[in-house]
């Protein structure tokens, strides 16, 4: 087991976000329950990544509320909430001046989640699990893209998060590494991890999602189970989108 189960409930209420005059999110209402795996789809510029990034306040919402387990995210508690919301970035963002091991142990040790030896033991287990124990003392520069992303996922798991957010986790990878990263995400899914993914991998979305959310112009215009969404889309916009990408 990489993770452990919790009672997670994430609620997004009338979320709006503008960058200057550019309105990116125009009132999103959304709910994510324990064990759900939501894939966010939509054309580029529809606000998918911004939506994801607003959840842990990497982008501060212009208005609206993010509520995790009944607690509204504010300036004051955002740092604590982020500790329970893992995030995986498109460009991995491994800390360049720290080794793989240090990348994994920095947050849990600094934030007093684990003692150093405990954290290192856990990190070793996880690295063994993803086949990268030999890279333990290597710096990120010597890893391939796929290896970096798998380390980044494991780094997020070190905090034992309630939700994992994936922001286009495979968009910067070569086809072979994509497979490795997707199988790791698949494994987390099979263990009941609550997951939200922004991705362009349609077949993976269909396979892994318990629900698809489709964004267009900063609004959720359609959501549903993957089979329903892909085979019987309700809106013209989604039909058009699927025709282009499938």
């Amino acid at each position: 087991m990489i993770g452990t189960q919790k009672n997670t409930e994430l609620v997004v209420k009338d979320l709006r976000k503008s960058f200057g005059k550019n309105k990116v999110l125009n009132g999103i209402n959304f709910r994510l329950n324990e064990g759900e795996r939501v894939v966010v789809l939509g054309p580029s510029g529809s606000g998918k990544s911004t939506f994801l990034r607003c959840i842990n306040w990497m982008e501060e919402p212009t208005s609206g509320e993010i509520i995790l387990d009944g607690e509204v995210v504010t300036e004051k508690n955002v740092r604590r909430i982020r500790q329970d919301v893992g995030m995986v970035f498109q460009h991995f963002n491994l800390i360049a001046n720290l080794t793989v091991m240090e990348n994994l142990t920095l947050a849990p040790v600094k934030l007093k989640r684990m003692k150093r030896d405990e954290a290192e033991k856990r990190a070793r287990e996880l690295l063994k699990h993803i086949g990268l124990i030999s890279k333990m003392n290597a710096y990120p520069a010597s890893l391939s893209g796929g290896q970096k992303q798998r380390v980044a996922i494991v780094r997020a798991m070190m905090m034992n998060p309630e939700v994992l957010l994936f922001d286009e986790p495979t968009s910067a990878l070569d086809p072979e590494s994509i497979g490795d990263v997707l199988s790791l995400i698949r494994e987390l899914a099979s263990q009941g991890m609550t997951i939200m993914i922004v991705t362009h991998e349609m077949s993976f979305a269909r396979e892994i999602a318990t629900r698809i959310v489709f964004l267009d112009k900063g609004r959720i215009i359609e959501e549903g189970e993957p089979s329903e969404f892909f085979e019987h889309p309700k809106t013209e916009r989604v039909k058009e989108f699927l025709e282009k990408v499938l």
């Binding site: 604590r80 909430i81 970035f89 963002n93 360049a96 001046n97 600094k110 290597a138 710096y139 010597s142």
Partner: protein
């Protein structure tokens, strides 16, 4: 040509001349050392204010820093030195070395601040984001993630600034201070050697050797800092 060699012999066999050169060199080094120290300390503070998040508490400090760097970088160093000597510290008996250190230190701070600011800003924002997403404190992110990476970008440019300060201190001869530059002029003057070539070339070699040494050290430091960027680098 014979005269030239005679002058070399004369310079190096007259203890008073050697003494003057060394004293001049010592003063140049003292002013440079403390000016750079002030420059780095004050420059770091300015750079941190400059790169800090824009909150209402930071508006005034940010404004002061902008005005400061604009004024310092927009006026000649020689004029700043004159203002320090003849306006601000025009106090009888006030040690001129302190005035000079302050003049160069305050000047260097503005440039060093730019060096440090651009070093900090050249670190990939994704690095800070990774720290934020993990829930780390801003201070932890700065000291553990941003600063160690920024230093790699700062060191080479800071090396340049150090070199600039050392050379620029030569203008203290304009306010009558006896630095290396002034020593060369004094030794070469009519009542001494009555020939400028040898003392001035010697002074030039003093500057060159110092700066060469600093360049060498900076390169070394730079190289060792870049270790983690090399493929296959391990701890």
């Amino acid at each position: 040509m014979n005269g030239f060699f005679d002058k070399i012999v004369e310079l190096f066999s007259t203890p008073e001349y050697i003494d003057s050169l060394l004293h001049g060199f010592l003063l140049t080094m003292q002013i440079s050392y403390f000016a750079i120290l002030i420059g780095v300390l004050l420059g770091t503070v300015i750079a941190l204010v400059d790169t800090a998040k824009k909150t209402k508490w930071m508006v005034i400090p940010k404004f002061i820093c902008t005005v400061y760097t604009t004024v310092i970088r927009g006026t000649p160093m020689a004029l700043q030195l004159f203002i320090m000597f003849f306006v601000i510290f025009a106090i009888k008996g006030f040690p001129s070395i302190i005035t000079a250190i302050l003049a160069f230190g305050l000047n260097s701070a503005a440039y060093t601040a730019e060096v440090i600011r651009s070093g900090i800003q050249s670190v990939d924002p994704g690095q800070t984001e990774a720290g934020l997403a993990l829930g780390l404190k801003r201070s932890t992110i700065f000291f553990k993630i941003v600063a160690p990476q920024a230093i790699k970008n700062i060191i080479p440019a800071l090396g340049n600034e150090i070199i600039t300060v050392i050379k620029e201190t030569a203008i203290v001869s304009m306010v009558g201070m006896y630095d290396l530059n002034m020593a060369a002029k004094d030794i070469g003057s009519g009542q001494n050697m009555a020939s400028y070539v040898v003392p001035m070339v010697t002074a030039a070699l003093f500057y060159l050797a110092t700066i060469y040494l600093i360049t060498f050290v900076v390169r070394r430091v730079e190289k060792s800092l870049r270790k983690s960027e090399m493929r296959g680098a391990e701890k």
